[in-house]
């Protein structure tokens, strides 16, 4: 896919690059049913593109270019937080404005978008963001992880392994892994510049001496490409191993804090730990009550006020896929 073939389709230069310059496996033909793309907007005339009164995917092209530059820098320096001029979005700060801006900047007409929150496609905020892009860009949406080219997520990484050409966009509330150890940005930027991460190791050590375990269960800090310590966003540490050597591009957007960072495909992502206290993920005692899956992240659902509960897959697409394939759980309360 080249820009000459689709002059006004705002193809994602990033994923094109990841696919090796476009053309090969990542090529997506224009759906002939789509109306011809309008002429590229002139300065100050970006509106009216989707009939909604707003530009394709809401943001104006100048803003998208600014965000793409930040994304490219972020990819070039894995794990480094790149400041960007975050815009005011029509959803509140803290509700995914960073992820939404990153998605808007990389979204092309041929993309297929999936949005999840807590692993599920049907949680209210995921519905809201998916609708936002359906309305402002008209791109196809899906709940199937394997079918999506862009997956915007809050708090989870899908259970289905991601593949080359896919982009995972994380919504990030606090991008700075050192923030709760040092509240000042002027200080934390220096600490990163000097790769001075001793305070974080001390914090994890204090956890062990106090609780016998590292008591960080989500937003568990990782070291990216052997250099920057990065906040993986508040995903449970269960998902940390999926970030390592992942074939997909991982982009992180923090709107309120105005930072973008990235993990390029096939990059080493190491969860911080100690030799005598190696990193471990959560283990669940029961399989999913609906599909019987083991080794996946589960949500605990309370059934009554007498303590009955059941555990079900947090990743609804994964669970539905398994059930469609005939897997059955006990359906019982644990």
């Amino acid at each position: 896919m080249s820009e000459t073939a689709m002059p006004a389709s705002f193809p994602s230069p990033l994923r094109g690059g990841v696919r090796g310059g476009g053309g090969a496996d990542g090529t997506v033909a224009l759906d002939p049913a789509l109306p011809p793309p309008p002429a590229p907007p002139r300065k100050g005339e970006e509106r009216g593109d989707t009939g909604s009164g707003y530009n394709f995917a809401y943001l104006d092209e100048g803003t998208k270019r600014m965000i793409r530059r930040a994304i490219l820098k972020a990819i070039a320096v894995p794990g480094y937080q790149v400041p960007f001029a975050s815009r005011e979005m029509p959803m509140p700060y803290g509700w995914g404005t960073g992820g939404v801006q990153v998605t808007a900047a990389i979204l092309g007409r041929a993309d297929v978008l999936k949005v999840i929150d807590q692993g599920a496609d049907d949680t209210t905020n995921a519905v809201s963001i998916r609708r936002f892009f359906a309305k402002t860009s008209g791109v196809a949406t899906t709940t199937r992880t394997a079918e999506a080219t862009i997956i915007q997520t809050r708090h989870r990484i899908p259970e289905t392994p991601l593949s080359e050409g896919q982009t995972l966009v994380y919504q990030v509330p606090i991008p700075e892994p050192l923030r709760f150890l040092e509240p000042r940005e002027t200080e934390t930027r220096q600490l990163h510049a000097l790769a001075e991460y001793g305070a974080m190791q001390v914090k994890l050590y204090e956890d062990i001496s106090r609780h016998g375990h590292i008591a960080t269960t989500y937003a568990y800090p990782v070291e990216v490409a052997g250099r920057y310590v990065m906040d993986p966003s508040p995903t449970p540490k269960f998902d940390n191993p999926k970030m390592d050597d992942c074939p997909a591009l991982q982009l992180f957007g923090a709107g309120r804090e105005r930072r973008i960072y990235a993990v390029p495909p096939y990059t080493r992502v190491r969860s911080l730990d100690f030799e005598d206290h190696p990193f471990r993920v959560q283990e669940f005692t029961y399989p999913c009550a609906l599909c019987g899956a083991e080794g996946v992240y589960l949500d605990e659902v309370l059934l009554d006020d007498a303590g009955r509960r059941m555990f079900v897959c947090s990743d609804t697409d994964h669970c539905e896929g398994r059930r469609a394939d005939g897997h059955v759980g006990t359906g019982d309360a644990a």
Partner: protein
């Protein structure tokens, strides 16, 4: 039994329809018009314009109607609209020295060129509920006076003080275009222009509280209101193709110049220092609070110790924006069950270990 949370789409649709109905309220009561809000809730409209960073009274009034009177929500609507507007450039700096003054008071001089003009103010009213307003009676027309001889000439108090060198000179305009924190991320330390932008957009309540804290000893600045003025000023713009300024229109502003504790050194005689506040419409509380916090934030520049929240620019700038604050506080309403599950798992494991450790002791006690 299938219990995973389903039905988000239908629930959102229904909630929004219910919201629309609640916004309208009792259909037997006539609907508020945007013009009514603009005219009769004028100070609220001014606040929404100020914190929304967009001078458009009709849009602000509409936002208030849509937001059911929730100020932060209305600011949100205005900001989300503003962010989509194309930028043609920046206007010529407005000159508040030639403002068509509706109100102008100084606390530092009993009388001064241009005079004291009370204008429409709550000051000196008795805050007694006026039950006659509930009866929607006619309003008595305001009295009119002959204009003063010097009415057209209303120099700023700070200019009068500066003539004698009693107050620090206004920082000269070196032609550097001011930054725009809506277009560039803030890089600390932020310069004064950026700090003033942040304060102008900042939540009135938050900025007011910070300003108040400086009066109570947390970064004291010994302020006097040099003057507050409210009125319209002309906005000029220089189109590139013309090369000379053309008037775009007029905006109503409130400006506050605080005159603060002096500063001097072996090299320079003592001088008063400045704190500056500017807001859209009539927003005196905001302009005053902004001026106090502006002065407090100059602590480092003026060689004062930075020890209080109002003097700490990272603290003030990172937290004064009502949209950032409300968004992040209210996001706690969003589902967090994945993270909570992770915490639950850890707490259960820790509790199990705790019980295992204390078991032998219990058995011993049982044996005894």
């Amino acid at each position: 039994m299938y219990v995973a949370v389903k039905g988000g789409e239908a629930a959102i649709d229904n909630a929004h329809r219910l919201l629309a109905e609640a916004r309208r309220g009792d259909p037997a009561v006539p609907e508020l018009s945007v013009a009514q809000i603009r005219a009769q809730m004028a100070l609220l409209v001014d606040r929404v314009m100020t914190e929304g960073s967009l001078y458009d009274p009709d849009l602000a009034a509409l936002a208030l109607k849509q937001a059911r009177g929730d100020v932060v929500e209305a600011v949100f609507l205005v900001r989300a609209y503003r962010t989509t507007l194309p930028r043609f450039g920046a206007s010529v700096p407005v000159d508040t020295g030639v403002m068509a003054v509706e109100r102008r008071v100084s606390a530092t001089f009993k009388d001064l060129p241009g005079g004291q003009v009370l204008g429409p103010t709550f000051d000196y009213t008795h805050r007694l509920i006026d039950f006659a307003l509930a009866a929607e009676g006619e309003v008595q027309a305001a009295a009119e006076a002959e204009p003063r001889d010097d009415a057209g000439h209303c120099p700023r108090v700070t200019d009068l003080l500066a003539r004698d060198g009693l107050i620090e000179a206004a920082p000269p305009d070196d032609g550097t275009p001011p930054g725009d924190l809506t277009r560039e991320p803030v890089d600390y330390p932020a310069d004064r222009a950026l700090r003033l932008q942040a304060l102008a957009r900042g939540d009135e309540g938050f900025v007011l509280g910070l300003a108040y804290s400086t009066q109570r000893g947390y970064g004291r600045t010994h302020p006097f209101v040099g003057e507050i003025r409210v009125g319209e000023v002309a906005v000029d713009f220089v189109p590139e193709e013309l090369g000379f300024p053309v008037p775009l229109g007029r905006v109503r502003l409130t400006e506050c110049q605080m005159v603060n504790q002096f500063k001097g050194s072996g090299a320079a005689p003592p001088q008063f220092t400045r704190g500056y506040g500017l807001a859209f419409g009539q927003s005196e509380r905001k302009a005053m609070a902004m001026a106090l916090v502006d002065r407090a934030l100059r602590a480092e520049e003026l060689g004062e110790p930075v020890a209080s929240p109002a003097q700490d620019q990272e603290f003030v700038l990172a937290h004064c924006d009502s949209l950032q604050a409300t968004g992040f506080v209210e996001h706690l309403k969003l589902p967090h069950y994945v993270d909570f599950q992770a915490e639950l798992e850890l707490v259960r494991r820790l509790r199990a270990e705790f019980e295992r450790k204390s078991e032998p002791v219990e058995m011993q006690e049982a044996a005894e």
